[in-house]
């Protein structure tokens, strides 16, 4: 049985073999780009908006709303990164109902890459917000003795982020495969519908956790602003 689409080789470019994970990631990227280009080609600012624009505006408003509620800050700096993560994962998971499509998030390489993006984004956003000194000082609070645990926590949460998404999507496809050979009638359909739900929830969890981690890296400033507000 196949556990990940990594092992399906589509074609090879010289020494580099292009597997199904890569190809389907490209398909999703192309799909997202083409659909958003096609819809944003004719935007209107009046009340009379097209169906596509309506859908996109609802999605963007939803993501902005969630980010604002989690961080209590202006969502604009985080919107491109977190929104892209969410849209990529949700498209990949939802398209897994299409026959022949192997969701690239069902491969540990894709999810590890996404988790590494989050791992890198936390200090990037933190330093942009606080400055290098203040961000690094964050690691020594409340006491320097906790430094090793903070570092281990950062690494292990990245691992958990990657494996959570991989495990959920992979188990969905594997269970569908097993059920097809045991009870091929009706029951796999139910599990597929359940898999859709799981996929959307996992994409939501991934994006929310990313924004929670990023927000925890930019937190100190808020606390100090709070203290300044209270002292005078």
């Amino acid at each position: 049985m196949r556990l990940s689409p990594d092992t399906i080789e589509v074609f090879s470019l010289g020494p580099v073999s292009v597997n199904a994970t890569l190809v389907f990631s490209w398909v999703i990227m192309a799909l997202l780009v083409v659909v958003s280009w096609w819809i944003t080609r004719r935007l209107s600012a009046t009340g009379d908006i097209g169906r596509g624009q309506n859908v996109l505006e609802a999605v963007v408003a939803f993501i902005r709303d969630q980010i604002r509620q989690v961080t209590n800050q202006d969502p604009d700096p985080y919107l491109p990164f977190v929104g892209t993560l969410f849209l990529f994962i949700v498209t990949s998971n939802v398209l897994s109902v299409v026959p022949g499509f192997e969701p690239p998030t069902g491969s540990l390489t894709t999810t590890a890459a996404l988790a590494v993006c989050v791992f890198v984004a936390v200090p990037v956003f933190g330093i942009a917000e606080l400055g290098v000194r203040e961000y690094l000082a964050n690691y020594l609070r409340p006491t320097p003795f906790l430094l090793p645990f903070t570092i281990i926590g950062e690494l292990s949460r990245t691992l958990a982020l990657a494996v959570r998404l991989f495990g959920n999507v992979m188990s969905g496809t594997v269970i569908a495969g097993i059920l097809l050979s045991v009870v091929p009638l009706f029951f796999p359909v139910v599990m597929q519908a359940f898999g859709l739900l799981i996929g959307v929830i996992q994409a939501y969890i991934f994006a929310i956790l990313a924004i929670v981690y990023i927000a925890s890296g930019t937190e100190v400033r808020q606390r100090r602003a709070h203290a300044e507000k209270e002292t005078p």
């Binding site: 556990l3 969630q66 509620q69 292990s156 969890i205």
Partner: protein, 90 residues
């Protein structure tokens, strides 16, 4: 029994036990968290957005222990270091 058979048998049995025992704790914890969240939503339906989001984040945290067990059993089955050592030795 040969080294191959012994390592294979031990890996598969332990992988099954790892995920079986390791998922008990998170399952109980997640069930408890979900029950509490449902109770909270029933009492304060207005706050259901915040409660649901916090629930998801909390469940993800609770789940990570089960995920570590999952990783260990995957390593035991697919990337067993002892298996590789025996294979390269023989």
């Amino acid at each position: 029994m040969s080294d191959f058979g012994l390592i294979g048998m031990a890996s598969i049995i332990i992988a099954g036990l790892t995920i079986a025992i390791g998922s008990i704790g998170p399952a109980l914890g997640e069930g408890r968290a979900l029950a509490q969240a449902l109770q909270a939503i029933a009492q304060q339906p207005d706050e259901s957005n915040t409660i649901t989001r916090t629930l998801f984040v909390g469940l993800a945290m609770v789940e990570s222990t089960a995920i570590y067990c999952f990783v260990v059993s995957l390593i035991l089955i697919f990337a067993n270091p002892f298996w590789a050592a025996v294979q390269s030795g023989s």
